[in-house]
Point group: D2
Chain length 141, copies 4
């Protein structure tokens, strides 16, 4: 999505938080969603499919989490910052869990290695955007 | 989805948590996702659309959150309970925020009233399932 | 989704086509999406997973097709009837292909039998709604 | 998604059709989905929102169509070519309808101009991949 910065600038509202971090996170979510979906399908085609069940399951969870996060980030109009914060935390957790599992299979399966990398990039992008959010947006537990 | 309990029982793995709460939450997510999507579209058709911008925005966020939660709940195989817990908390928060906004327009627009009700039901269903989860699954903050 | 008829009536615009067929199709799409997603996950948990690869693949395609169709049907405002027609045809085809594959495993796996049934119901609901659409909406090939 | 070609090559199965066309279409679907979602939200923030209702509606349809197509394309394992063909035709039609509407507002709203461009690129990418599909996959009407 090379035009993502252009699209963010074209919106009547500014991005709610961050600047370059916002665009980077939006882009990383899209990449990770499709890469994890592709890894799930590639695992399905492997002879060793039985050893990849957990990887497939987490790939599907991660793809859904990244798609939902990308959809929310594509909306800059009057965001609920608490909701955005939780969505980013959830996405980071999904990417961490999926990336860890993919990494375990990365030396045998190139698609798992690539998915682990996409998960790491998306995890870091979520962390970067969370770090750019105002403290008030962080829920107190 | 009258067959949701049957489908949960037909899975080789038991639902990770809850029993009736699990089925209720899966059903509520599907209902809330489509009802909020329909409310966003109905708001679009209202003459007073300018006063409904925030409602549309939250409807779309809520629909995406409920869809992602429903997709995760439809997977019973080796779930990551921490991830499920966070997904349910996110979904509850999205339903609360969207339901509050819809309720503000509920006396003028029947679709907003119905969406607020669907949000409340889904919020309660998430709370019910969260309450059925083992303490160990709750992230410590 | 017991409130689907209420929600359709609460919209400022009438449903673009059909009446009871519209509500039935919207409901069937939601049911089929989650049931096929659950069947994919249940297949993942089966010992005979290697024989169920194709079933998993089609389950995921069908879930995505049904979700997209349900989302489109939840919008009654100025629909593009040609687009709606194609979406319904696509959904019917996805349900047919997935239902045929699930049915092949239905005597061994209850979740495949239930998914095949959900596919058949959704296929019939799409056919019913397509039959209620005006001839002008049908693309000439 | 710079890694999309790498991911396609890493799959045990070859892409079912095309080569560079397959990767280009997968990438264009992701870009168009998020760009149209962002345009819908930007329209929501415009003072002239009432004139942009139809644009918002088509943006949401197009985003859902592109997401479903991108998800299907991310699966290379034993695809149903007839289903893929129909999905690509649907996506092309959604992009055409949405792009036409966005283009009508493109001189007043930069986000509509950018969305129209993303729709055109995705429409062409679908056409390119459809052109690379074997004749046998094309349904006879």
């Amino acid at each position: 999505m090379p035009a993502v910065e252009e699209m963010i600038r074209a919106h009547p509202s500014k991005p709610p938080v961050g600047g370059s971090e916002y665009a980077a996170c939006l882009r990383a979510c899209g990449e990770c969603a499709r890469t994890c979906g592709a890894c799930a399908d590639a695992c399905l085609a492997e002879e060793t499919i039985a050893a990849l069940r957990r990887c497939i399951r987490l790939n599907l969870d991660c793809a859904d989490a990244c798609d939902a996060t990308g959809r929310m980030l594509s909306r800059q109009f009057e965001p609920n910052l608490d909701l955005l914060h939780r969505q980013l935390e959830l996405c980071r957790l999904a990417c961490e869990a999926c990336g860890d599992e993919c990494a375990r299979h990365g030396d045998r399966h190139e698609h798992c290695r690539l998915a682990a990398e996409a998960c790491r990039r998306c995890e870091e992008a979520c962390t970067g955007l969370l770090g750019a959010m105002p403290g008030a947006a962080r829920p107190v537990h």
